[in-house]
Structures are given as structure tokens and as C-alpha cells.
Point group: C2
Chain length 333, copies 2
């Protein structure tokens, strides 16, 4: 293939259409303040199409002093169907509001370094799931022109809007349920894999919280996501005296449940098991897996929050609790 000539600019379009660059800009942006005659509009569109002209987002945002870019760090771990749906909805809703959503491939970047890297793109808004962004990071982003910084995480950050995802509530829900079912010696599965601490920690704390002041005990059980690790944990189970377990999520629950069954333990008679996230697979297990269903905010709501914040950058940061947790009891507890 022949190497293409230079990238066409609006000047090229203007030349081909026989008009000025200003006119091209007016036409292509549908500027309402100026009225361009229909024939001229046609000529400009024609020329743009013929040249395959695509505007340069960087140049535009340089001139305008701001962009329509909404930046999110890309999650570093495999993300479940729940969060995936939320993300899709959010992107769709922001797209409708004429924002461009981009997930930044955060590789080894941490804290303020990450914030600086994001700031180079001069996003108009930044959405940060999880912990990891501090007040200084927020300040960096704001100074770089971000008109809205929103965290989706366990706690609010100075200067940023916050959608509080209180995973504590998930653990609390599970703990209270197991207690109500008469269990008193409760294990909590905590993934040994790193990257999930900001979810697993609060979930564990939630169980502790639910059982504080009762006669029940809570034991943290680190577990790697492998059969071997699960089998080893199950082999130690008899001596542990635990009569119930809250797994980090349904997948870990399935892993452990299988290992316990292979060890000859009956569920729920010997051990009650409950997961979280209400994945399809829980309904396919036997016994059917009890779980904590989690409700994320609607992507549309979050998109509107972002838009509002962008339009009114001076406003007070909104802080909202958005994570619902409800029990789905099936057969395993």
C-alpha cells in the first residue's frame, strides 16, 4: 500500500472547498451563532468527506481550554458481570451526554504518579473505582483542569465527589444471616490474591461488626483461588470447629463448597456456606448457594452526577451511599 500523504487538516478542507478555515469550523461544528449558506455547507461537508478529514482532539482541547474526556483507570483484575454491566451502562450514558469515555491502562502506576499520568490527558472528569487516590491526587487532577473527580470506593476523599461503596454492608448482611440461622463459629474467606483487599477487608469487617457483642466468633481464612489451597483448607476444617463460612464471593464459595463436600462434610448441616454477588453459578450448585446480592448504582445516575459536577465545578462535593446488599437465601445456609 502506498504510504498516505499527510493527515488532512481543516485547512486542507477549506482549500478544497474554496472557503476559509473559519467557515470550515463553523460548518463542521454546527455553530449556531453564525449562519452559513446551504451551498457552502454542502461544499464543506463534501470536501471533508472526500479528504477523510477527522478533527484533532488534542488541538481542539488545546484551543478550547477543556476536553470532553472522561477518564477511568482500567481495572487490573478480571471484573465480574455485575461491574461489567455497570461500566457498559455508564459509558453508554456518558456517550449520550457527548462525553468520550476512556479507560487508562494503569500498569504499575501508584497513587500520585497515576494521577499525574491521567492529568496529562486533561480529562474533564475522572472516575476512580476503589481506593488508591488520595487528596493530593485529587488536587493534581483539579489543577490540570478536571472539573469533576468522583471516587467509587470505601471512603470519601477530600475534594472529590464520592459514591460510597460500603462493602461492610455485604459482610454485615451475611454475618447477621448466619447468626440468625444459629451459627456461632463463623469463618470468612479472604482471597489471598492481591488487588482485592479494598473489597475483602470491609466485607470481613462487616461480618465482625454484625456479630460484635454476641457469643459468635469470626475467623479470617485466607484462601488462594486454587483447588489445592481449597482442599488443604477443607482438610483442616474438622478440627476448626467452624459451623459456617462466608466466602468472598460466589466463586470462592463454590471452590470451598466443593472441597468441603469432597471431604465428606454435609452442607448446610455441618457447615453453612454463603457467597456474594449472586452469580448464575450459585443457582446451579447443589445445594443451591445462598448469596448476598449486591446492587450497584445505575450507570445513568452516575453519568448525570458527572455531568452536573462538570457544569457546576464549584459545587459542594456530593457524597452518596450507593451499594445495596440484600440476602438471597437458597439451600446452602
Amino acid at each position: 500500500m502506498v504510504q498516505m500523504p499527510n493527515t488532512p487538516t481543516s485547512a486542507d478542507v477549506a482549500r478544497l472547498a474554496g472557503v476559509s478555515r473559519a467557515t470550515v469550523s463553523y460548518v463542521l461544528n454546527n455553530t449556531s451563532a453564525v449562519r452559513i449558506s446551504e451551498p457552502t455547507r454542502r461544499r464543506v461537508h463534501e470536501a471533508a468527506r472526500e479528504l477523510g478529514y477527522v478533527p484533532h482532539a488534542g488541538a481542539r482541547s488545546l484551543r478550547a481550554g477543556h476536553s470532553r474526556l472522561v477518564l477511568m483507570p482500567a481495572p487490573a483484575f478480571p471484573v465480574g458481570p455485575l461491574y461489567s454491566r455497570f461500566l457498559g451502562e455508564l459509558q453508554w450514558a456518558l456517550g449520550r451526554l457527548d462525553y468520550t469515555v476512556v479507560q487508562y491502562g494503569t500498569v504499575g502506576l501508584q497513587g500520585d504518579d497515576a494521577a499525574r499520568a491521567w492529568a496529562e490527558l486533561r480529562p474533564v472528569a475522572v472516575l476512580v473505582p476503589g481506593a488508591g487516590l488520595g487528596p493530593r491526587g485529587v488536587a493534581v487532577l483539579k489543577r490540570a483542569g478536571a472539573r469533576a473527580v468522583v471516587t467509587l470506593g470505601p471512603e470519601r476523599v477530600e475534594g472529590a465527589h464520592a459514591l460510597l461503596m460500603d462493602h461492610d454492608a455485604v459482610g454485615h448482611c451475611a454475618g447477621a444471616h448466619l447468626y440468625a440461622r444459629g451459627r456461632r463459629s463463623i469463618g470468612v474467606l479472604v482471597p489471598a490474591e492481591s488487588g482485592l483487599e479494598s473489597f475483602s477487608g470491609p466485607r470481613l469487617a462487616g461480618v465482625r461488626h454484625a456479630l460484635r457483642g454476641t457469643d459468635a466468633t469470626v475467623t479470617a481464612l485466607p484462601l488462594a483461588c486454587t483447588e489445592r489451597a481449597a482442599a488443604a483448607l477443607a482438610a483442616r476444617w474438622a478440627g476448626s470447629g467452624l459451623d459456617a463460612v462466608f466466602a468472598y464471593n460466589d466463586e470462592y464459595a463454590m471452590l470451598l463448597m466443593r472441597a468441603l463436600q469432597d471431604e465428606g462434610l454435609r452442607i448446610p448441616d455441618d457447615v453453612a456456606v454463603i457467597g456474594a454477588d449472586d452469580l448464575m453459578l450459585g443457582r446451579l450448585l447443589r445445594p443451591r448457594l445462598s448469596t448476598v446480592r449486591i446492587e450497584l448504582p445505575s450507570g445513568r445516575d452516575l453519568a448525570e452526577l458527572v455531568d452536573r459536577a462538570v457544569r457546576d465545578p464549584g459545587g459542594e462535593p456530593e457524597v452518596r451511599k450507593v451499594l445495596g446488599a440484600s440476602l438471597v437465601q437458597r439451600e446452602s445456609s
Copy 2:
């Protein structure tokens, strides 16, 4: 919080450090062509830090005529651990080569429109998984300065490098296996959900391909990812005469296997079941699920391909088959 003053520019840094903008640029970019005295360097760094200066990526790429941005469309569906790991590896490897990886939130954009939207960001390289990018889209991107366009999909696209992911091979592997196990009436589960056609189609075709010229029959079985749909399919099973099924992946396999078992069918005696993707859950089922393991290319290799292509934009497009499929036989087939 007080509204921050304007975003600091390199001119602000220069002013504070008492030097020219040129010097600031030299220092902050470690330009080797010019030597700046140590005290000056220190003053510049100091000033930049004090102001919280972050360079403007758009302005830089405008001036330079190119960026270090690698763009990928964000997948629209929940992505498995396999692909997720691949993605992480790729981002890490590209990061090491000093590229910035960004996933573009493709919402409702299709084909050439999507390509144009991506082109606005003037990425130096574009990686497109799946089908959906045509030769015209490739041309748009190249004219907008993309020095490498790489597709990861079923077939090559004119003008772009191609990593051929031949999902045909997955189906072929499963079909051949089931035939070898003596099965002659083979169903193939095809997700009813849209967005997966570019994977499910070739997988089905692969089974057909493996059994062409034999006495075996192949039947496509559309299935929505719900218990009800699976139960309905299982209820019809006895009359169908099918003695084996290749599910789209392990999750669909689990869904159907459970429904078949609930219907009283024995696995593998009455029906052999095989999945794909070798997910953890397959090993936890009883009987243990046979599966087709898929090997994706290493992220590092792909990163190197991208880097090579960027450095030598004139080179012939590379076309490489990268999808390995191998059988993992367990108990369900």
C-alpha cells in the same frame, strides 16, 4: 476548597525558575542534545514540583506530530479471566516501552464511525479485537497518523497487521474429540446473546469442519444464559437423539449440564459434555468437565509487534496465527 487558579504551564515553571521556556523543556525531557547546568536543572525541577506542573499531552502531540497513545476499543461484554490476563500483560508490556494504553469506551459506535472517533485522539497504534473494523476503517486510522493497526480476530483486514484468532480450531478440537469418543449426534451450544457471534460462529463451523465426511451430524442449539432456557432445552433433549454437546464455553456447559442432570440424564453415559476456556469451575463440577483450553498470545509478544510496526510503518503487514487449542479431557466426555 478554594477554586484553583489556572492550570500551570511550562511558561509558569520558566518564570518561577527564572529561565526560558526552552530550558524548562530541555530539563523536563532530559534532552540529550543540550547540556544544562546542574543548578539550573535543580531550579527547574523545583519549580515544576512546587507548581504541580503536569505537561499537556495534547499540546505535546500537536507539536510533535505524533503521540505515544495506543488505543483499544473496550470490550462490550464481560470478559473472562483469560482475556483479562492477556490485556493486563499487554498493557504492562506496552507501558514498559513507554506507550500509554487507553481503552476507548465504544458505546453504540459501529464500523467506520468508531474508527473516526478513535482517530480523533491521533493514536500512534490501534489494536482491535474481534471483527468490526473494515479496510476503510483501517484507512481512516492510518490517514490520521496511526502507524500500526493490528486486528485480533478471525480474519485479516487489508492494510492492517493481523493476529488471527482462529476459533474454528476450538470447535475442531472439540468435534474431533467427541467423534473419537464414539459420539455421532452432536449438538453445539450457541449463545443467544448478541456480541459473541464472532466467536461462536467459528466455533460451530469448526465442529462442522471436523465432522465433514463422517457419519456424524451437527446441530446448532441456540441458548440464552438463563436457567429457564437451559431447562427447556434439556426437556426437549430425550426426543432429540443427541448423544453429545459442545458448549460455547465452560459456563454454558455448566448451565446445560445441570439442566440435563436435573432431567435425569447421565453424563457422560447418555450425553457427553465438553466446554471451552478451561475455567476453574469445570474442575469443581461432578463429573469434572472436559474442556478445550485456549492459548492466547503473550502480551509481551504483541507489545513487541506493535513497537516494531510503529518504528517501521512502511513494512509489510504481519499476519500470524496465534490461537492455540488443546483438549483437556476430564470425566464429562
